[in-house]
């Protein structure tokens, strides 16, 4: 808080510029709401409040704890403007190149944050499953998202979430009724295409599973070409009692892209969430994963793999709050850094006074392959209950020379040996991805990235 006070006392030039930019994007966008009409009043109120927060809150600087290692200057300098119009020129053939070969799924495509009906391939959905655009849902049946939309994220973990709430225009809604079961995964393709001037898309997504419902969602952030753009998305996930969600997120934004996502998760009793985050793309990517439990015996499993290469910054922030007894959480993140790549890992496990029998475990392991790469990791435990099992572990290291020697003595070239070892390191996370087609695809992508990396 003191940092915020400081920044408001002595605004730097960058902070000023940023504040102006934010206000343009969020504050002024508020009057225009998501639907064709003015949208439901409850949402309008939320959005006004969010716009107010954007206007009044202190702009984060390098002194803000949340942005200590993640500078905003590069983002500010781009001067992104709000993406307004939907992109309609694309056909199904255009997205062929970004598809995962052999992946059978109910496919949803969003282009620059807008739901692209024409590109979707939903197939037949089982009973009790609704998939559609946020825009459409707010027009036709706003009550279906009431009590969930904006309620899980609340004020969000930082300004960008408020910005999203104020400026959201469209997004994806997945609703599963009580006991609905989805056998095939839902594949969500967040496609970005470059525009004449750099745009920021601010979609808002919602996944809500009723009691005992089960689903698997695969989100993929992809782009056509090396476009420069920014994504600032928020996903809210509500899991009812006994619900199960398997969730994979593969971030393969273009190498010039800026990527900000927030995942806000609310878990009721006995629910289970298993998420795998793969961070490969973008020049600057920040992800916030926030979990709250609203019932006991819930389980949250967050895994991740990031590869940060030349001039890339990949930042994962985690905030897992145990407010109730008997819940368990696990965070397992691995990173490979090379070139001038930088990674930030900031995980917080908070155990409140009454959250006895909490089982929380966090680990972050990093491989640094080159002299200019950097990792800043901060795994934190904040514990106010005594009957808990909490631990965290962090490592930063390099490839063991003994391992390399072993492989080389068997006639494998140094470069290949390094790649093999890196893939082995990453394999643990990739294997958690679910469908085989996706696992193979990601392993191939990771392999290709490592091949480009100057590993020697």
């Amino acid at each position: 808080m003191s940092a915020a006070a400081n920044s408001s006392r002595q605004p730097t030039e960058a902070a000023e510029a940023f504040a102006g930019w934010l206000r343009n994007l969020g504050g002024d966008a508020a009057p225009e709401t998501a639907g064709t009409g003015s949208g439901p009043t409850w949402l309008a109120t939320e959005r006004q409040q969010a716009a107010e927060r954007v206007r009044t809150q202190a702009v984060p600087t390098g002194k803000s704890e949340d942005w200590r290692y993640t500078g905003l200057r590069a983002l500010i300098e781009q001067g992104f403007v709000q993406a307004d119009e939907p992109v309609t020129a694309l056909t199904v053939d255009d997205i062929d190149e970004v598809l995962v070969p052999g992946l059978e799924a109910h496919r949803v495509v969003l282009v620059n944050g807008r739901y692209a009906e024409a590109l979707c391939d939903l197939g037949t959905l089982p009973r009790g499953v609704r998939i559609g655009s946020l825009r459409g849902m707010l027009d036709s049946d706003p009550d279906a998202v009431r009590g969930v939309l904006t309620q899980i994220a609340g004020e969000g973990s930082h300004l960008f979430a408020a910005l999203n709430t104020a400026a959201m225009q469209d997004g994806l809604v997945v609703l599963l009724e009580r006991a609905a079961l989805l056998e095939r995964p839902i594949e969500v393709i967040h496609l970005s295409v470059g525009m004449d001037e750099p745009r920021v898309a601010q979609p808002r997504h919602l996944i809500s599973l009723g009691e005992g419902a089960q689903a698997q969602v695969i989100e993929r952030y992809v782009s056509l070409g090396d476009a420069l753009y920014c994504t600032n998305s928020v996903l809210e996930v509500a899991l009812g009692r006994d619900a199960l969600l398997k969730h994979a997120r593969v971030q393969q934004e273009s190498r010039n892209a800026f990527h900000i996502t927030g995942l806000y998760l609310s878990q009721d009793a006995n629910s289970r969430y298993a998420g795998v985050n793969i961070g490969l793309g973008g020049t600057w990517a920040r992800t916030d994963l926030v979990t709250r439990f609203s019932g006991e015996h819930a389980e949250c499993d967050l895994q991740g793999l990031y590869l940060a290469g030349d001039k890339q910054l990949i930042d994962y922030h985690m905030d897992v709050r145990h407010g109730l007894p008997n819940c368990s959480s696990r965070e397992r993140f691995k990173g490979i850094l090379y070139g001038k790549g930088r990674a930030v890992f900031d995980g917080l496990v908070y155990v409140a006074r009454d959250a006895q029998k909490t089982d929380a475990n966090m680990s972050n392991r990093n491989l640094i392959l080159s002299p200019n790469a950097e990792v800043d990791t901060k795994p934190q435990l904040e514990i106010y209950a005594d009957d808990v099992k909490c631990s965290h572990g962090t490592t930063v290291g390099q490839i063991e020379p003994e391992m390399l020697f072993y492989l080389r003595s068997r006639g494998i070239s140094a470069a290949l040996a390094r790649r093999m070892l890196c893939l082995g390191f990453a394999g643990e996370i990739i294997d958690a991805l679910g469908p085989e087609a996706l696992r193979d695809y990601v392993a191939e992508q990771v392999g290709a990235r490592l091949e480009q990396a100057p590993l020697d």
Binding site: S2, I383, D386
Partner: protein, 494 residues
């Protein structure tokens, strides 16, 4: 514990001093000033006049006065740090008297007048009678044993060429050494409390170990004659020249009587090529009553600079006292192949709060650091480990291992871990592990089924938990620390 009156009182005082009474008040101040110098106590408050008075009283050279004043001017601009997870009412720095001679007269006349609870604790710690008197602040006559012991020690040290004296003596007798090193590890501008300390420090220790000398004994403030009353703003400077070794013990296991609530000490260690400094602390100041009233605020900045190649600095601390502890003994591993170590046991119970940890800054090649931190939190105790491991780009082959374990006793206490890890070199190896748990029922049951009372069982388990750190303490210290730990946890269980 009335050293720091509520902030409200001073606001009134300040209001009085403004406006029409200005001249009168200032004039009066001047007068009061002189009177107080005669009785060796300065009135509460801090300004340049007070600092000059301290410097004058200490007979310091001009450069020292200027150094203090520069620190004071910078301090005025510095904000109070708020990032630590400790809570306390704002401190009024104008309500503190920054210089006062030892108040021996105020102490009890004999042990009969000392609080029996305190005596009971001494008994348990096995402290000899004469020492008990000294610790409780009883006026001791001249035949006190340890005075002669101390004199003998000084002779031995002198023969070895080791300088071991108060910082004030050092400023007078070895100005070159002090001037060269003072503030070179912890600059006055480092943080709010170092700024304050640099401006007003009145006591502390100076140690210089010459080249290729192994200090013939473990140095302890306890044996420095003029350190009967530890200063409120202590300044310690230890310089180990090439190839030397020194082990320094600070503090005492016995609870100490102390009238000052705010302690802002600065400790600077400098190790040149192949030198080694081992710095052990046992801190058991008054923690306040069970509601958290009173108690010492211990805001300390300790930093060691491994300036030379193959040098080593090792911090060991056992922190059981103080209402609030804010302390991060750190190592700057500048020289190639230098080694930094930090071993810590911290106990918080009652309403105690501790935010403690370390910084290991790896700059040189093949530098190694080890961090072992054990936190025990009971009753309403709040504890945080906060640490930084930074491996700079040129710290080729740097190695760090960190382990922070927390033990929680009771459901009202808390334990936090805030490690910061920044690695910029691919050949670095860094491991960090942390766990938080309570004493398991199985462990307790096992001990109890073998006839141990619950309290003894807990004490045994806790001692086992801390063993790694106690092993690093000098022998007799370790034994005392173990006893201290059991006493600290008495009544905390069940």
């Amino acid at each position: 514990m009335n050293a720091i009156p509520a902030a409200a009182t001073t606001v009134e005082n300040k209001a009085d001093t403004t406006g029409q009474y200005d001249d009168l008040v200032n004039a009066g101040y001047e007068h009061g000033f002189i009177t107080d110098i005669e009785s060796d106590t300065l009135p509460p408050g801090l300004d340049e006049g007070v600092i000059r008075a301290i410097s004058l009283r200490k007979g310091e050279p001009e450069w020292m006065t200027d150094w203090r004043l520069a620190a004071y001017r910078k301090w005025l601009e510095m904000p109070t740090p708020t990032w630590a997870s400790v809570h306390y009412a704002p401190i009024d720095y104008q309500a503190i008297s920054y210089f006062s001679a030892p108040k021996k007269k105020d102490g009890p006349k004999s042990l009969d007048e000392v609080d029996p609870v305190l005596l009971e604790t001494y008994e348990k710690l096995g402290i000899p009678l004469e020492e008990q008197k000294a610790l409780a602040g009883v006026a001791v006559d001249a035949v006190f044993d340890s005075v002669s012991v101390a004199t003998t020690f000084r002779k031995t040290l002198h023969e070895a060429g080791v300088i071991f004296c108060s910082i004030s003596e050092a400023v007078r007798d070895y100005p070159e050494l002090v001037r060269q090193h003072l503030g070179s590890v912890v600059p006055p501008t480092d943080n709010f409390y170092t700024g304050l300390n640099s401006a007003v420090f009145t006591d502390g220790t100076f140690v210089y170990v010459p080249k290729n000398t192994r200090c013939p004994m473990e140095l302890s403030t306890y044996f420095r004659i003029n350190s009967a009353n530890t200063g409120q703003f202590e300044r310690t400077l230890i310089v180990a020249d090439e190839g030397s070794y020194v082990s320094y013990l600070e503090g005492c296991t016995a609870p100490q009587r102390d009238e000052n609530q705010l302690h802002a000490a600065v400790v600077e260690l400098i190790a040149l090529d192949d030198a080694e400094i081992k710095y052990s602390t046992v801190q058991n100041w008054y923690p306040g009553d069970e509601n958290g009233k009173g108690g010492i605020f211990n805001f300390v900045t300790k930093r060691g600079d491994c300036r030379g190649h193959r040098s080593k600095i090792s911090w060991t601390q056992v922190e059981t006292g103080s209402a609030i502890t804010w302390k991060y003994p750190s190592c700057i591993l500048r020289g190639d192949d230098s080694v930094g170590e930090f071993y810590s046991v911290a106990v918080t119970k009652g309403r105690q709060q501790a935010d403690t940890g370390t910084k290991m800054i790896h700059l040189g090649k093949n530098t190694r650091s080890t961090i072992v931190s054990k936190g025990i939190s009971a009753q309403h105790g709040q504890q945080a480990y906060r640490g930084l491991v930074r491996i700079a780009g040129r710290a080729e082959g740097a190695r760090n291992h960190t382990q922070c374990d927390s033990l929680l006793i009771g459901d009202k206490c808390s334990a936090h871990t805030f490690p910061y890890i920044e690695v910029k070199n691919p050949s670095a190896k860094m491991e960090h592990e942390a766990t938080t748990s309570k004493i398991s029922d199985d462990q307790l049951f096992y001990c109890r089924s073998r006839g141990l009372a619950e309290e003894d069982a807990v004490s045994m388990i806790v001692n086992g938990f801390c063993k790694e750190v106690f092993n690093e303490l000098p022998m007799e210290f370790a034994v005392e620390a173990q006893k201290l730990l059991s006493i600290s946890l008495e009544g905390a269980v069940g």
